[in-house]
Each structure stands twice: as structure tokens, then as C-alpha cells.
Symmetry: C2
Subunit: 186 residues, 2 copies
DNA sequence: CCCATGTGAGACATTGAAGTCTCACATCAG
DNA sequence: CTGATGTGAGACTTCAATGTCTCACATGGG
């Protein structure tokens, strides 16, 4: 594994538990010299942006793999619902790999990344819209609110896993249930 | 309003949109000199801790006002459900006032604050436990997970409000519904 | 063997925010 | 008026992390 890959593997891991970790700490965690870290990423911002970009790529990839647009256009409630579940499951995995990108100010405030996020979000909204139109998701809430709820649940599952309050293998199921059925008893 | 109160009012507001705001920016937002800010709060950590402590006090106060422990001990599903809704509504208001405390590393990592948070959480868990036992909340998930879901929804509503995706007057209802009923259509 | 490449260690410089200090000024109670 | 208190402005110091640079070394291809 190249030292660059070592950094890109280690950084999200440390930052997940220590969002303010210094470059020195990140380098150490990656088993790499501080100078080497700076060779690959000129600044801390650079590194964070790269991680943010990768999380966006992963977001897009997950939507792609779940065939979000295809499902949205199908107009078939069963397909849409299955797609949603598939998507959420992928998101949960992504949130563990790129948890830092969910809440880091550097990532959240970067104009380019924001634009990329909005682009992904628009695609996701297609699915939510189709889900609302076909009776899969409740129609009486703003579609963008559904995105926020999803986001919040990913933050929740990330933290719950970090603190060891839920088992990794249960994570996806808990999120899917919480999102679709809520936490109220049936 | 004393300058100290001005700071304690302004700081959470600026930090809500700029979590990395400098002391100088906070002072400016409070309409107060930088020296004055340091007179009241020796360090940035001090200020953040004070805000964190106040958010904990508010958390405790909200549980108190919603009569959480009383409801938990009542064993009455109707009472418990009403208490939960009341509590969530209060939380939504609190999340707007102290949104920064939800995700700021300084607040989240301070040992004393963590201990205080855990103490509040334990009380909240009593309610969740009672709610699960009386068929108000689903019994098939870890009680602590319910706390995380709630937390995630507060982060979601905070961000949705900051970005203007939902109307302030709808916020509480959206959170209550998302938590209890989920986002799936009935 | 030899060179090219990438690396670690560590010295060094830079920077930007934090924190300190002084002083003049406003306010207000007595 | 007068002293006490709190304040704003701004100069100043400190400090920790960032970013730069050099050099010796390892490795691997030729």
C-alpha cells in the first residue's frame, strides 16, 4: 500500500473519533512521516477536501449501485421501497467509512464540496419524491426534510457505533426501521 | 443586559452557523470587546464548556418540565406517550438554542460534561424503558439506540432550520412524527 | 553495482488565533 | 463632584500547529 493510500485509510479512522486530530497525529496513525503526509497533501484543508470528495464519490456510487434514478422513474412502489432499503444499507456502511465528512466544518463549508453534495442530494430527492408519489414515503413532509432525517440517522448510527451502543451487524437494520417505521410500537 | 449575558446569547448563535468562529468573531457578534470577552471567559474552552453546561442544564430542565421520571414511573401508556411528545417538542427548541453543543468536539470530549450528559441520558433512558415496556415505543431495539435516534433527529432539525428547508413552526411536529411514526407512508 | 524514487527524522520558519496588559473613557451610586 | 466598576481599543506576547527544507537511508529496477 502506498503511503498516500495509508493516509487516506487512516485519516478518516482517526478523525472519526478525534475530529480535531492534528496532521502529526494523522501521520502517526497512518504510520507515515509528517513530511510524507505533507508531500501528498499540501495542507490540512487539502486532506479534508480529498476525504470529502471521496465521500461524495462514495455517495454517488452508492446511489448508482442501488439504481436510484432507475427506481425513481419506474413508478413501482415495490421497486422504490426495495431501492430505498438497499440505499440506506449502503449509506450505513459509507457513514462508517466517511463519518468525519458528515460533520466536519472544513468539508461542510467547502464551496466545491457543497455543490457536489447538492448535486447528489438532487438525485436522492428524485427517489424521495417518487417514493412519496407512490405511497412508499409519507407525502405530508417536505422532500428535503426526508434527506435531513436520513442524514441525522447516519450521524446517530455513526456515534452509536463509536460508543459501542449497538452491534455493527445490527446497524443497517436499525436505521432502516427507524427511518421507515419510526420508533413507536406498532 | 450584562456583557456576559450578551456573549452567552450571541456565542451559540454564531457558533451554530460557524462552529469554528474565533474569539474575535464571537466578541464582535456579541457587540463586545475582545478583552471583555476574555474577562468573562479565560479561554475559548471555558466559553464552550459554559455553553455545554448550560445546554445540559436545559436538557435537565426540559426533562423536569416534561415530568419524565414521573411519567416513567406511572406505567401509564397514555401519560408516557404524552410525556414523550412534550419532551421532544422541548428538545427541538433546545436544539435551536444550543445546537452547537450537539456536535462541538470541545463540548463532546470534556470529561465533566460527558459525565453530566450521561447522567441526563440515564434519566431519559428511564422514560424510553418505560415506553418500551408499556407498548409506546418498540421493544425490539436497544434503549440507548432510541437516545441516539433522538439525537440524530435533533441534529437533522437543527441543520434543516439553518438551511431553511423547513419552517420553524413545523419543526417540532416533523421531529415527533419522524421519531414515532417514521417516514414510511401509513 | 548504481541510479531513481520515495521516505523518515528532525530542524526550522511561519502563521494565526489565543491570551495578556495598559490606558483612556463612560457610567453610576453615593 | 468623586471614586468604583466595567468597558473598548489596541499593542503586545505566547503558543501550538502548520508548512518547509535538508539530508541520510532504504528499496527496487536496470
Amino acid at each position: 500500500m502506498s503511503s498516500r493510500d495509508a493516509v487516506l485509510a487512516a485519516a478518516p479512522r482517526v478523525l472519526a473519533t478525534q475530529p480535531t486530530a492534528s496532521m502529526a497525529e494523522i501521520a502517526a496513525a497512518a504510520g507515515v512521516g509528517r513530511a510524507t503526509l505533507h508531500r501528498h497533501f499540501a495542507s490540512r484543508e487539502d486532506l479534508l477536501r480529498e476525504i470529502g470528495q471521496r465521500s461524495l464519490d462514495q455517495w454517488a456510487a452508492s446511489m448508482d449501485e442501488a439504481r436510484v434514478l432507475e427506481a425513481a422513474e419506474s413508478g413501482d412502489a415495490t421497486v422504490i421501497r426495495a431501492c430505498l432499503v438497499d440505499l440506506l444499507t449502503r449509506y450505513v456502511a459509507d457513514a462508517q467509512a466517511f463519518g468525519i465528512a458528515l460533520t466536519d466544518p472544513t468539508v461542510l463549508n467547502d464551496p466545491e464540496l457543497r455543490e457536489g453534495a447538492e448535486r447528489c442530494f438532487v438525485d436522492e430527492l428524485r427517489l424521495h419524491g417518487a417514493a412519496q408519489a407512490t405511497g412508499v414515503l409519507r407525502p405530508d413532509v417536505p422532500p428535503r426534510w426526508l434527506g435531513h432525517v436520513l442524514y441525522g440517522l447516519l450521524v446517530a448510527v455513526r456515534d452509536a457505533l463509536v460508543e459501542g451502543d449497538i452491534a455493527p451487524r445490527d446497524a443497517a437494520g436499525l436505521v432502516v426501521t427507524a427511518f421507515l417505521e419510526g420508533s413507536g410500537a406498532r
